[in-house]
Structures are given as structure tokens and as C-alpha cells.
Symmetry: C2
Subunit: 581 residues, 2 copies
């Protein structure tokens, strides 16, 4: 090795040792006849000291170093007079006897510090420099540790990691598939997998029993906030199990991850019906770090000639504890918040439970004190609380109040990034109606099993068929989801029928899976976790971008390598395709 | 769980226990009033017993089961009278009290047995059934264990696994790139990586210090024997190291793998210069399970008026120990072997060292006994040995004799699949001349560092510039290779110049890497192992196909899912491409 140790290793234990370090020049300070240089590598920072009186040439050499020069130094470990107890190496420094520049460096376009002056675009273009910064590099180390921990946990439970193919087949609902023209099979295309779903089910048919894979998946869709065209899943499947076994196994995985990687004791994960999640939180992924459940007010508020409530399908409220002091301005802010186009509500009604015990609402014209007392009772207010009420169509108003609830949670400091609340959401609907195509789509995917007791409803009341499907939610973010699968050809064919596939289409696209079901498919089910998202939650980040080493921007471009790019005519010709702009 | 234990777990320890098993009906035998059924899962096979007298319905149910039916049975563990000591569960059986068919099965198209009657095509089409067979499934388990072992070893040495992107940029030498049209950036394409080479070098520039990844790579080339369009690499890179450090670190990896996965004590890995490998074995990946080195005969055989030798650039021999008894027919076979078009030799000359001590050659007309004694001395023959001699142009005859050497090794039983000989081949040439394009190509890749002492030769004698490049060879197969990289922009630009890139081309294609080298690139180097190949060697297989769960055939097709396939016009339109057949 060029070095004897790293820049994060030396302490008072090493006094007097002769060492050689390699790393980057972080910064330097001249102090009288002395020069102090911080040398940095992945493991830490160590202070180097040069003395003009001891060796003028060497010290002059140190003074000539620019930021980010790559250097190799040898010297003796000595005790620092001016100790820095914030870093493990802060009690020692190296009295340098030899200095070699391994590579010079131009001045970087932004500061390589925890707080940088670089804007997003510049940092993306020079991603390899941004990755030098501790916060970004630490995210990658966290990600590595999480992957190791996942593999250790699953391996110990007899799960086998099997690599499934990346060059697969495009599906009819494949608008989101990336495709790959085949040179050897001109005019034909592979597709990149949106998930290894069918392959993992085939592995169950093969008797693999317990499969997992940490695997890249691909989706060619418009990149809304915080999506990436390539993303990573922890993909898992088990045979001879029931939903309960999946929940226990993967609750164990997540709790183990929290313990091993964050040293966080995640309690047993509570379970909630999808219907209850919608009813109490207006969301299938409620943030349960705080309560603030919806209170249904229809029975209390209707029939008092207030048309907003009388005409609404649903009137719901939340109790914002301790917010009765909100000023007119603050209340207006909240109203503006819910009127933003992405939320689209029309108005907000409030009830203050004042410190003096009185109740004051924004609709006092319609509701007298006695009636407001009923509101207060329903919402279990105490003095100082603020009730926020919204009204409208059921689905719409729930979504709107969900947004307001999250906003209030944030304002009240109830969404601490170092606190974690996990939740299983169970019994999702099997189907959802798609307005655009005017047909039902699988809410999860077409291989999800309906609850046996609901199968009869498929013909009569498809909207109310529940699936054996489950999501895990952490802090209001869906981190994983899965289902018990259909393992019976007849039921699978029935599902395809209800999804609007003709038997021919179903056979053409999924014939191999339908065929496989005839050769002895075991009962099976599984789950997939969004690994990028999971890492970002563990790292306390809002975006997945900084847990990905080389992410793409919102136009799907890698601005560092300048990709995608045009390819030459010869290559297009070989692939038997033409661009058609 | 549907089961209380697996089909591979029960022994005499469990007598009397009530258990529930799930699995596939492997086979059944009726014996008087009894029916014996073998139930199989991934973990093993357990015998079930049904008795017509105890429960006629149950027994009739058992008799109605077809092969590969998926069943669930409950019963009591009892001792077998007729024990099968070849399997761990062979001393017990289950006296069944309940039987449930979880899924029926059609008769599979081939036998699900260790030795199957299925041909290659049928097994590929029904790969999910082929994967049920022990030999194939065991390969996948082996592969999983190897991946786990690799990760454990590297993690313990502070290597971080970092995922690099799959959607990258096509390179000018990109005839082998798979490309992916970008919908969001019409007319532009991503490429799938042939390796993460540039990204891992950027991670070194980022200070990651030690990186690895078990990663899918892609190459769109004609699939000669045993290539796959997608394959998996163990990709590694280290900073602040010299070649010696890489060799030690990854020799450690391979030896650990052999120990942990095969319980095989691989000795320290010998090292050989590329030049010596070519000289003594005619190959840069010699099979060193056996010696049989080439002996150069020019000095001994030339000048005796035998034109074949006199006109040859090189005359070389191998000593096939104990083969003097070879018959005319056997010798003709060898001659036919080397005359096959893929080897293309014109003739083979031999010298027998007979049991009576006499020497007999096929060219006695030109060489007398005294001269043949010199041959014998040079080849250190003993009685019973057979010397095989070939002549021709140096490169060509070495390749030809290398093939003959391997053939003789096979015939002599010297290539045992359970014996492993590893070798480092060092100091590869930096460049190789390409007849077709009439220019030099990088033998390894354009980022490989020349040996510092040879840089001066780049202008005067490029062919003889040696690289800091190394391959690891096991049993005559290259399992991995790597190099110390260039970390200096000036040297990298010089390399591109010698490879025929204009400065503009170099900047256009690799500008981001050249730029990165200016911001403080550390000295670094790495290696990549072909994981599929490594698994096949560990599994004792000649082909990589059966260590891949869902491989493609020689036309790059997945015949199971029928991919690649055509995609519809709407999708092509969105991607702004047309097929051009």
C-alpha cells in the first residue's frame, strides 16, 4: 500500500509512530513559522504540521499545496497542543518529514465542505466532486450497510438471492417500458423490467420457496418530483405462506434494519385497514408519527342551513392541539395552502376553543354555542385547541384534509426526521376504476389475489373486492408493498378478463405464467421495498437523489456524462431502426 | 405458515411429532394395501405412508395424485422399516392423517429428476420446471452462497458496494452497446454498460477508496459458445495501492471463496509473466492443473534438411508422459484434431521413447538416433513417454500446440473438475494491433496504465509496451482481470492519441473522466471477475448457462417468455423511432 494507515485512525495510542498517509488537501493555515494542513480521506481528517525552522523546503512545499491536491506524507505522530475533540483524530497531529504530490488539482467549482456553495446543477455536473463531501459519501456508506444488513437477515432465513433477467419482454400496458432494440433479432425489442414480478413468481413455481433480490428496475415515465428512471428494489417472494407470515417476516426485516443501521428500536408495527386509513387519515400512507385523526362531522353539522355543509357528501375535521392562538394571518395562510391548485379546496372552517373556555367559529352565523359545543365534544377539544373543518366529496375532501393534516403536523413540529413510525396498511381494493380508459385496473398488479370471500363480488361489485395486498408505510411514505398472489390458472384468467384482456391477449403476454400455473404452482406471495426511498428515510432526506451515486435529473439526463445522446447512423443501421423526429 | 417444517428436516429426533409438510409429489408406489409417496421441496424429500386399512379414502386420495401435484399433508413422524441412508430424512416417514391438494399439475414435458429426459430446447422453454431439478437449483444456491461470501469478504475489508447506473452513454467503439431510446429526449439514446469502468474510476476520484459491486453488464455481440448478452461481474476498485496490493487482496477473495463455498484449500496463487505464459503454454490462460510445458526445439532440430522445421519460425514440443504406447490410430486422431479448421495446423511429428529405451520418431529419415537423443534430453523423456512436436509461425504454432496440450491433458485425465489450479498472469502488453482497422487497440481498455519504465516506448515500439495489467486464471479459464489505471490527464490523453482518438473525440466521449483527472485523482487500480464463469467453475460445469436462472439461447432469445418481440406502433411513435428492416 502507498500508506500505512488512513486519515481517520490515529489517536494518542499511536504517539511516536512513524506513519504514511495519503489523501486530499482539505485546507491549510500558516501560523508564524508553522504550517498546518488538514489531509482528508474517506475515513477522516488528520492534521499535518510543518515547521519552517525544521525544514524550510518541506514547509514551502506544504504552503504551495492547493485545495484538493492529492498528497502522500510521512512523519511522526505527536500530541496536539490545540486539541479538536470533535473528531477522533483531533488529539494528534503528524510532524511531517516527507511530502509527495501524487496529483495536482484545479480549484474545484464549489467548496468540498459539509455545507457547500455549489448549486444543484453544478453539483450534478461535477457529481464526482460532490460525492467527496461527507454528507453525500455518508449516504452511500449508509446504503451499503443497509444492503448488507438486508442480505444478512434474509440469508439467515433461507432466502436465496437469484438474479432475474434485465432484458425481458415488453408488456401491453408497457407505455412505461424502456425498450432495447435487438441487433440479432432485427425489428424486435427487449424491454427493461419495471419489476421482476413474473420471474419471481416463476421461481416459486420452480420450488425456490424463498427468493429475494436487490435489483435495478426501470420506468420510462415523466419524472415527477423525486422519481428516477432507474431505481432499486428489495424484491422478495415466499411459498407456502399466508399474509400473516409475510407481514411477520418483513416487519422483522425493517425492525432489524432500524436496529443494525440506525440503532433505533422500532416497536411492533401496527396494522390498519385500507378503509380506516382513508377514513381517519385520508391517505393510504398516513404519517403516524402524530395522531390528529379525522373526525366525521356529518351528523353534527348538517341541517343547520349552512349550504357548504348541507351540500357536502362529507364534512370532516381535525383537532390542531394548542393552535387556538392562530392569528387571522396564520389562518389565511392555511386557507391559501388548501386552495393551491395541487390541493384545490375551496375553503376552510375553524373552531377555536379559547383559553377562557369559550368557543368561536368562523361560521357563528349558522351554529350557536350549544351546537359548537357538540363540535368540541366530537373533536375532544381542550382549551387552546383549534378545530379545522373541510367539506366536499368524500374522496376529494379526505385527500385535501390529509394535506392540511400533514401541514399542521409540520407546523407543530410533529414530524421529526429522527423519529420513525411504521404502519402496515392492509386489505387494499383489488381494482380501481380508470376514468381515462374507462375500465378497471389492478390497483397493485394483475397477479394479486382477491380475498377468497370477495371473489363472488368480482362480477357484481368489483369496486368493493378487497385484495390480499399490503403496504408498509414509514413516516407517511410507502416504503414497500406486496400481496398474496393468484396461483390458480382459472382465477388468474378471470382476473385478466376483469382487467379487460381478451383470452388471446392474456395468453400472448402472460402465456408463460399461465402455463406455469398448470404445472404445480404453490400458494405464494411477496413484497417489494423501494430501496432508494428506504435509504433516504434512514438518511433523513426528503429526496432519493442523494442516496444514489449517479442520479439523473428531472429530464432523465445524466448531466455529468451527458447522456442520453445521439448515436451514429452505422449503429442505427445495424439495429435496423431509424429515428423519427 | 402452511407447514410446520420442510421436507428436508425430519429425522429420528422427531419421532412421534405431529407435522405438516408442503411440497410437490415426486413419485408414489403402491405396495399391497399401502401407498408410499415422496414429497419434495427445496430442502429435501420425505416419504409419506398411507394405509388402505387405516383410512381407505385418504389412501385413495394419495393414489389419485399425479406427478408434481402440490400437496399439504399432516401426520406423525414414524420410523421407517426400509431405511434409505442416502438422504438425511431417510430413516423416517410420515404416517399421514390429512391430505390436501393445493394445486393440481399437468404431466410435465420432461422428468423432474437429476437425470432428465428433456432436451435443451424443451428445458429452456419450460425453464421454471428445469429449475425444479436438484442439479440446476443447487447451482442457484451455490451462486447465492458465492455472492454472500464475496460481499462478506469485501465488506470486512472496508469495500463499499455502490450501485452505478444502468442507463449510461454509448461509446464510439460502441458497436457492442445495447441502446435504449429515450422518450423524454427524442432521438437520443442511453446505452447499457459493458462494464461500470468509468464510474468506478470516478468513485476513486470521489475518494471512495475501496469500491465493489456485483453488477449486471451487457454486450450485444454474436453469441459464440457460452456467452450471454447480459452477464454479471464482481467489479472492484481501490485507491492508494500498487499492483501487489490488488493481487494480494483478490487472491484472498478467491481463496476465501474456495474455502467457504467448496471447503477447498486453494494454495497461494503462483504468478507468471504474460510472455512466459505464451512461451510455455501458448496461452494467456494456461490450465496449470498439469505441467506439460512447451519445449523450444529450434536449436536442436534445425539444419538437418527437414524443411518443415528449417522453414518454421518456431519448433516446439510437449512431452505426453506415458503415451508411447499410442497406436497409429490414436496418433492419427491427434493429427486430425490439430488439423480441424478451428486449429488449422498442417501436421504433427512425434517421438516415442519406447519401453525398451529405443527412440522412434515419425521423421527418422531426417534425424538419426544421436539427434533424437538430444530431443529426448531436451524433453526430459523417460521410457514410455511420447513427444509431440509442431512447427510454424510463433504465434500460430503456440496457439495450436496449446490446443493439443489441453487435449492431451484431457486424455490423460489431468483436468479433474474437482481439482483447482489458479494462476496470476502479469504484465500483459498494453496494445494489440488490429488488422482490420489497422490501428492499435487497448488490450485491456484505454484506462490501463503502461508500466512507467515502458512509457518511452509508446512512440518507438508500441507493441512492446507492457501494461500494469493482470488476469486471474483458474483451470485454464480467465476468471478475472484488471489493471492499475492511468490517473493523470496528460498520460490519459497520450493513450487516447495512440489509440487513434483525436483530442476532440477523446473529449467528446470521455471528457467527464479527463476533467475528473484534473480535480485530484488518486492513484488507483482494480479488477473485475466474471461471476457467471466463476460460478460455473465452482459448480464443475463447462457452460455458464446453468448457473443463470433464466438464460438466453445462442440467438439472444429467451424462448420461455418469447423475447425479444415486436412492440406496437404507438410505443414506437412515443419513442420517436421506426423499425428499418
Amino acid at each position: 500500500m502507498l500508506r500505512t494507515t488512513t486519515c481517520g485512525a490515529l489517536t494518542l495510542q499511536n504517539l511516536g509512530e512513524n506513519v504514511t498517509l495519503c489523501g486530499w488537501m482539505q485546507n491549510s493555515r500558516d501560523l508564524g513559522g508553522m504550517t498546518f494542513v488538514d489531509i482528508r480521506d474517506r475515513y477522516g481528517i488528520t492534521q499535518l504540521v510543518f515547521n519552517m525552522n525544521d525544514n524550510a523546503d518541506l514547509c514551502a512545499g506544504a504552503r504551495s499545496l492547493g485545495r484538493e491536491f492529492v498528497i502522500k506524507v510521512s512523519g511522526t505522530v505527536v500530541e496536539r497542543s490545540n486539541k479538536n475533540l470533535e473528531i477522533p483524530t483531533g488529539e494528534v497531529e503528524i510532524k511531517v518529514t516527507a511530502l509527495e504530490i501524487l496529483n495536482a488539482a484545479k480549484i474545484p467549482p464549489f467548496l468540498i465542505e459539509d455545507k457547500t456553495d455549489g448549486g444543484d446543477d453544478l453539483r450534478m455536473k461535477y457529481r464526482y466532486l460532490d460525492l467527496r463531501r461527507n454528507p453525500i459519501r455518508n449516504n452511500m456508506i449508509l446504503r451499503h450497510r443497509m444492503a448488507q444488513s438486508v442480505r444478512r437477515y434474509l440469508d439467515a432465513l433461507d432466502f436465496i438471492e437469484v438474479e432475474t433477467p434485465v432484458l425481458i419482454k415488453s408488456t401491453p400496458e408497457g407505455a412505461r417500458d424502456f425498450v432495447v432494440p435487438s441487433r440479432m433479432n432485427g425489428g424486435e425489442f427487449y424491454a427493461l423490467p419495471q419489476s421482476p414480478q413474473t420471474f419471481k413468481q416463476l421461481l416459486m413455481v420452480s420450488g425456490f420457496d424463498r427468493y429475494f433480490q436487490i435489483v435495478k428496475c426501470f420506468r420510462d415515465e415523466d419524472l415527477r418530483a423525486d422519481r428516477q428512471p432507474e431505481f432499486t428494489q428489495i424484491d422478495c417472494e415466499m411459498s407456502f405462506i399466508e399474509q400473516e407470515d409475510i407481514l411477520n417476516t418483513f416487519e422483522g426485516l425493517i425492525r432489524t434494519l432500524f436496529k443494525e443501521v440506525r440503532n433505533y428500536d422500532l416497536p411492533e408495527v401496527p396494522r390498519m385497514q385500507y378503509a380506516d386509513a382513508m377514513r381517519f387519515y385520508g391517505s393510504d400512507k398516513p404519517d403516524t408519527r402524530f395522531e390528529m385523526k379525522f373526525i366525521e362531522m356529518n351528523d353534527i353539522v348538517k341541517g343547520k342551513d349552512f349550504p357548504v355543509f348541507d351540500n357536502a357528501e362529507l364534512v370532516i375535521a381535525i383537532n390542531a392541539k394548542g393552535c387556538a392562538h392562530y392569528t387571522r394571518k396564520q389562518l389565511d395562510e392555511l386557507t391559501d395552502f388548501i386552495k393551491r391548485p395541487q390541493i384545490g379546496a375551496t375553503g376552510l372552517i375553524y373552531l377555536r376553543h379559547n383559553e377562557d373556555g369559550s368557543l368561536k367559529s368562523s361560521v357563528d352565523k349558522f351554529y350557536n354555542e350549544e351546537e359548537l359545543a357538540k363540535w368540541s365534544a366530537a373533536c375532544q377539544t381542550q382549551t387552546g385547541d383549534l378545530v379545522l373543518v373541510m367539506a366536499g366529496g368524500t374522496d376529494k375532501v379526505r385527500k385535501q384534509l390529509s394535506e392540511l393534516r400533514l401541514e399542521m403536523g409540520t407546523r407543530l413540529g410533529l414530524r421529526d426526521k429522527d423519529k420513525f413510525a411504521a404502519l402496515w396498511v392492509l386489505d387494499f381494493p383489488l381494482l380501481e376504476w380508470d376514468e381515462e380508459t374507462e375500465r378497471y385496473h389492478a390497483m397493485h398488479h394483475p397477479f394479486t389475489s382477491p380475498k377468497p370471500e370477495d371473489i363472488a363480488l368480482l362480477d357484481t361489485d368489483p369496486k368493493n373486492v378487497r385484495a390480499n395486498a399490503y403496504d408498509m408505510v414509514v413516516n407517511g411514505t410507502e416504503i414497500g408493498g406486496g400481496s398474496i398472489r393468484i396461483h390458480d390458472r382459472t382465477l388468474q384468467s378471470l382476473m385478466f378478463k376483469h382487467l379487460g384482456f381478451s383470452p388471446d391477449e392474456a395468453q400472448k403476454q402472460f402465456g408463460f405464467l399461465l402455463d406455469a400455473f398448470e404445472f404445480g404452482a404453490p400458494p405464494h406471495g411477496g413484497i417489494a421495498f423501494g430501496f432508494d426511498r428506504l435509504c433516504s428515510i434512514f438518511a433523513g432526506l426528503d429526496s432519493i437523489r442523494d442516496v444514489i451515486a449517479f442520479p439523473k435529473n428531472n429530464s432523465g439526463r445524466d448531466v455529468m456524462i451527458d447522456s442520453p445522446s445521439t448515436i451514429d447512423e452505422k449503429q442505427l443501421k445495424e439495429l435496423k431502426i431509424k429515428t423519427d423526429l
